[in-house]
Symmetry: C2
Subunit: 535 residues, 2 copies
């Protein structure tokens, strides 16, 4: 038996040897080992006290009496309120997260906060395509538009029978006068929020397939863009994103900004701000937040932020040339801000990368001509398809030399591509909660993340579109990953956070500093866990 157990131990070691947390991969302090044990104990206790089905055995289960809290890593939108109350979440909330490498800027700020920002702007107007009633309110989306001056018509409510569909009403006015029968101002807020977020009924019932939920998901951007792409709001939106990320322990971010829209509306209500204006605002807010953090003596908590230039996967190859040139010009003007280039949108239904080989190759050549370096950081394989165009995007992303892979959900199916990712140290930006809500996986235990980790592919956990999913910061994504595995522990989470910095587009000097700051915070975090959980 002893020899059997020795062979078994050896086999397990070999099986896990490529993991980021493999024994010997990094020298661990005694404190780290102790904190990891504490966290494992809390996880095990809460797996029963918080997440177990409320019956003694599988035979006793009564659906009518069941608690909805049924297993760790279950559907996030159902579990969220339970998660925030757990000890484990409270610990992870304080963990330094390193870098956030995959988030779409337009979906990074809590929807209720965006609503608040919009209400502060007299220029913001709202319209509906029908007179709102109890019967149709769930089907009608709000439309937003900043106008040069307040459009004060006689009709002040979207539910007024005499409201002419499409007429712009000042946002605050429409809210204050929202019909009591539709819930008054609170009902108005709920109507707007429901157009800006995915709710559990949609994710798990009415739109419970990747294709259907993408319909809802995409519709959100068509609504939110007209709130966000207005420079006074954009400015405060970015600031809020930076500040809340810092609060969650994220010290650096690379945000994907969709430059498909060529203009933003300025304070004058005119669609007049060009892309360089977008970046100027980003740059200014970045400096202001840095200054503010310094003022608070917290400059070590914020290393900075860069931008991954994106346009949408439905542009023609010819149109893409324009965006590539635009990106080059922005890189020349803001070399410290432009970190990479990507194409975004629903991979299963939009154009595959193979359609863009020509313009993308020209883009690389133009960079050489101009002495610039804008790595591709492609979304690829965000799909359940096996051999479909979306799945095949992985081949093109890698052939085009992508620095990281956005999602790479279907990468687990590709042994040769996994090998290449390891050789070239291509990290995968894994978005656990996004994948679950967008129905690529039904829960975290079904997620293929452990397949990648055990094969030694480096991953960074990312929130993707936290405003839509309600997974603000990175704590929720770390939580869902940590509770769905008995192999991973706190030490694993730390290694993943380190990898997020290592695989960022920070230049070597910045990266070194970011890693050093991380280690300092990590050591303190570990000590806090030990101190706060003394038995």
């Amino acid at each position: 038996m002893e020899s059997y157990l020795a062979r078994r131990k050896q086999l397990i070691l070999e099986d896990r040897a490529q993991r980021v947390d493999a024994p010997g991969a990094r020298a661990l302090s005694e404190d780290e080992v102790q904190a990891d044990e504490i966290v494992r104990k809390i996880r095990a206790a809460e797996a029963i006290s918080v997440w177990a089905v409320n019956s003694e055995s599988i035979f006793d289960y009564d659906p009518a009496k069941a608690s909805p809290n049924v297993f760790p890593g279950m559907e996030f939108l159902t579990a969220r309120e339970t998660i925030v109350q757990t000890r484990l979440f409270k610990i992870l909330n304080k963990m330094p997260k390193g870098a956030l490498l995959h988030a779409h800027l337009d979906a990074t700020v809590n929807a209720r906060h965006l609503l608040k920002l919009a209400l502060e702007q007299p220029a913001m107007h709202v319209a509906a395509s029908r007179v709102l009633t109890l019967d149709n309110i769930k089907d009608v989306l709000p439309k937003f538009k900043p106008l040069p001056k307040e459009n004060l018509s006689e009709v002040v409510s979207l539910a007024d029978p005499s409201y002419v569909p499409g007429t712009w009403i000042p946002f605050r006015v429409a809210r204050e006068n929202f019909a009591q029968g539709l819930g008054g101002p609170g009902g108005f807020d709920d109507w707007v929020i429901s157009a800006l977020m995915i709710n559990p009924i949609e994710a798990y019932k009415t739109h419970n397939t990747t294709q259907k939920i993408w319909g809802k998901f995409s519709s959100i951007f068509t609504v939110s863009t007209n709130l966000i792409r207005f420079s006074p709001i954009w400015t405060e939106y970015i600031r809020e994103f930076f500040l809340t990320s810092i609060e969650d322990g994220v010290s650096y971010s690379e945000t994907r900004i969709n430059f498909w829209y060529k203009y933003m509306v300025g304070p004058d209500g005119e669609e007049s701000i060009e892309h360089r204006g977008f970046l100027a605002i980003y740059d200014r807010v970045l400096k202001e937040v840095k200054a503010e953090m310094k003022r608070q003596g917290r400059e070590d908590e914020f290393v900075g932020s860069k931008i991954i230039y994106c346009t949408l996967r439905f542009v023609t190859p010819e149109e893409l040339d324009w965006y590539c040139e635009d990106c080059l010009a922005l890189k020349q003007e803001f070399p410290h801000l432009i970190a990479g280039f990507d194409l975004v949108g629903h991979e299963d239904s939009l154009k595959p990368l193979i359609d863009y080989i020509d313009p993308l190759t020209r883009f690389v050549e133009r960079q050489k001509e101009l002495g610039l370096d804008i790595p591709f950081i492609f979304h690829a394989g965000e799909t359940l398809g096996d051999g479909t165009a979306a799945d095949m995007n992985l081949y093109d992303a890698i052939l085009l030399g992508t620095k990281r892979i956005g999602h790479g959900f279907s990468l687990v199916k590709h042994p040769k591509l996994i090998e290449i990712c390891k050789e070239r140290d291509i990290a995968v930006e894994v978005c656990p909660i996004s994948n679950e809500i967008l129905r690529l996986t039904s829960s975290m235990p079904m997620h293929p993340l452990p397949v990648l980790m055990n094969q030694g592919v480096r991953v960074a956990l990312c929130s993707d579109d936290p405003a839509i999913f309600g997974n603000m910061g990175l704590s929720f994504d770390y939580y869902q990953v940590l509770v769905a595995s008995e192999v991973s522990g706190l030490i694993t989470m730390g290694e993943i956070a380190r990898d997020s910095i290592k695989h960022s587009c920070l230049d070597p000097r910045e990266k070194e500093r970011a890693l050093a700051l991380f280690e300092k915070r990590w050591a303190k975090f570990i000590q806090d866990i030990i101190r706060e959980n003394r038995e």
Copy 2:
């Protein structure tokens, strides 16, 4: 661009080089290539005509108007009636399937047929733990028991208010007199069937987690065993299993029989038949079916069947010694029937293999002493767990030298174990529909099968418990796998079928014959496809 496409093609080839259908793995006939193309075209056409959401784009989707047929490989219990009407299914139905390597005998015959068999037995009685009413009928399970003589009480209905709970009523009598308010005899049948199968509401709504659905799943066996473990029924049950398997194109099977119950009830209504009696019946029916097939001039369609001896994962290690000795004795008496040894039951909640190392090691030594060879063919990794005891069963199954792996759902997480499976040619018995209904995966596109296939692990598709899932034969499992991939085609399905024979426990001579017979049928199948689908 040309050079890019050449590099791309090369990369795809390398990525898929380990697949069973990799170019050059087997010389393909022109007919096979043509039939494969025909099947791909039908699949592509039906992906739209049968399975597409009934809206033009993801933005138009209206949940209220949606068809439930939403994507190929969707939930089997919802899709079944649609599947049987497709051209693709009708083709696969005629495909020679090779061997069925993973099926639990107690769940291999259509539940309505089992009901019919039971009604033919005057000895069969039924009871309920409560007087049945409209309110409780969904919660009360039927109990069955063959009795030495008919128990003719005055009360003939389980819904009669004067029925004393637990009293045995002859099965036919109880059915004929079933209350009209509960649907009469048809309602009785539905009541019994609902205790013998998983319905879509259970799988996808009330019991939509692995743990909950296993509660229902396990309860089925407690009901059905008392119908099946009665030799007159058992005899006809086995016959029906063989005959229906043959009709589905399965030419050989290795059925798992649960020997945990030490006795079967004989025709005299006494629990008197020992395990050797179980095997004697199996052997006799096998010979009768072979004779019948020969009489029909169809002996080439049925190579035979063997048994994998199983007991349950809740026996103590000491009790397991008894079963091992029992298995050895049976192997000595029926060397041609006993093919292997396994432990079955819910891996997530029952004892892990590590608890049984001692008795299992003794079992191997005893085989050596007696000059017997009974390979382990362990269930392992039928779990969503990552590093849980059920997931760790894979290490022990492999260390104990398992010949194949039953399910191996979590094997994709274990790179070293995958390597060993390839080195030792350990095939995985993949049960697609079982995995989906038991909630390890929510649909076929989420299933990790392509991960194993692309890494070169050999797989056999298996039905597991077709009577419970309604996936009789192997056609449904092949269908779900084929529609969920653009990489796999008819040729792939043929290779998987060949692998099922190659990885069976047939002796070399039998295996050679089975493969030769398969090739003959495969060639005819291919020609039929071409002839029947001429444009």
